[in-house]
Symmetry: C2
Subunit: 322 residues, 2 copies
């Protein structure tokens, strides 16, 4: 059961409704590709705490309230691991964290978001990540999120299709969404700086999005809702096409090593993961982003001139796809 957060923000409940619908649509679409594997439902809810008079042991700490709908599919024919989570939470930031935020006032917050990571089994099919959320702090509210693609074999058509759908969404909301800026921000953010390479071929990424007035906020809301709904058209055709391609142990081994880079990004650099784990977020829901099976080898690198080397070139120097 999703409990509404204690805030009079108008966009939180409206976005909650849309994201829950989108979650259901995504679950149904992914399951339709699976002969037998099904999503496991894990609904969770934090024990209520009086935020105005919390127990002494929570002094100085962040307090998280609310709950979520965690949905996970593992061991499928097409999807080796897929997590599609909605959560609606609120509470109190820790004092230090609240002060570091550039927007809003006070230490109370509320947030609703949809978050997914899909790891297909076939190395020809790319991993994909999506997150769309609204955050409210005191009197200010804003949107954030994005979607990005991580291929193991570079199919330029796939990158162009995925970016094309996102660019079209941004184009429909040109007053609030600048595709080129959000694409650049995605390349900047999803980068394994310790390896000087991007996590994947990118997509869009944005944060702190809000309008100058109620109409501007409503336009931002419309963009985020549209972007969330565009996930299936952006990703599904790619995985439908690629899941049947034959592959051998060499492609699988490359995929498992590249998944190691995915783990490195999420655990070392991703602000959401690191912040969530350090401040008492729900570990299993946060770490559902990790791939099911991963390899590391010393100084693992592709052969010059190979398709794997071509992928790395693109990861080192992000390209324009639209």
């Amino acid at each position: 059961m999703i409990t509404a957060p204690p805030t009079d923000d108008v966009h939180l409940p409206a976005l909650t409704e849309i994201l829950l619908t989108v979650q259901d649509e995504i679950l149904a679409a992914l399951e339709a590709l699976e002969p037998t594997a099904r999503f496991r439902a894990d609904d969770w809810q934090r024990d209520p705490v009086d935020l105005d008079d919390p127990p002494a042991e929570l002094a100085g700490q962040a307090i998280l309230q609310g709950g979520g709908r965690t949905r996970v599919l593992e061991g499928g024919d097409v999807f080796e691991r897929a997590g599609v989570n909605f959560s609606s939470v609120w509470g109190r930031f820790s004092p230090g964290f609240a002060e570091s935020m550039p927007v809003g006032d006070g230490d109370r917050f509320a947030a609703a978001g949809l978050s997914l990571v899909i790891h297909p089994r076939n190395p020809h099919a790319p991993t994909v990540h999506l997150n769309y959320r609204r955050m409210v702090r005191g009197s200010a509210g804003w949107f954030g999120g994005g979607a990005d693609l991580t291929p193991y074999v570079l199919y330029e058509d796939d990158a162009r299709h995925f970016h094309g759908v996102l660019a079209a969404v941004c184009g429909r909301h040109g007053d609030v969404a600048d595709y080129a800026a959000m694409k650049a921000e995605c390349d900047r953010y999803f980068r394994n700086r310790h390896r000087d390479e991007a996590r994947g071929v990118g997509g869009i990424f944005f944060d702190w999005m809000r309008g100058d007035d109620a109409a501007g906020d409503a336009a931002a809301f419309d963009f985020v809702a549209d972007a969330a709904r565009s996930f299936l058209p952006a990703y599904l055709p790619i995985v439908c096409d690629r899941r049947h391609l034959p592959y051998g142990e060499a492609e699988r081994d490359w995929q498992l090593h590249r998944r190691g880079r995915y783990v490195e990004f999420n655990l070392i650099h991703d602000r959401g993961t690191v912040f969530g784990l350090r401040t008492g977020g729900r570990t299993e829901s946060i770490l559902m982003s990790l791939p099911p099976e991963v390899r590391w080898s010393y100084a693992h690198a592709p052969v010059d001139g190979s398709p794997e080397a071509a992928l790395l070139d693109v990861l080192r120097t992000p390209r324009d796809w639209v």
Copy 2:
């Protein structure tokens, strides 16, 4: 080639000599257990930079000089991955980092250390980690390090043996080394706080160790040298015993999932790893600590009353082994 750092600290060159010898002994002992697999040598050296007049693009950044002897064995019969690295480095801390250090003065440093992580293939044989180092900042120098054991199947005899050897080393240097305190510090440090469990059954861990005078520093040096030499007697008998035990897919699967917890600790919580990667350390040498093959599953947990559950009990509530 190991170049001596530009410092007149007397313990750095002496510890370098000892740690290089210990490294060779460990390499030879591990190889002796392997029918055919051998360590691969990768010596590395940073391009020299004038620390008093560094290039403009390094303004405000940490600068690392020196080099190391990286040694890695992969795909062995006994050791699925083993990294045994010595490094001797020096340079300039970034301004913010230097100010955060409680000991020494200025932004120049020098350090020498031996670092190893061994991941055996057989789930009955534990992973082990060791690091001993000397760090010099300005006019102050100190020692740090330790060794700890991460079993996948709990053999209490193994934990008692490993801790017993470390306690005996500390006992021989009672003026500088307090086993009980270092054991407690190890339990505190190597903890996956986001899962409320220790990484393994611990060992010893210490930092900022220095004497009140030259004699005290010499005593600390003797302890560290002795501790480094005690690695083989502490670990080798365990892996010798356990490597032949039969196991099946269930034990392997458990091991791969527990290795996931090892990755989580190293990438999320380990100060050395995170600091190293963020400040331009050598990625491949730092990430050699990661296991070769790893699994994650949603809400992975052992059956009540199983040997795996018994291990988790010990990880949640560390025990005394001596």
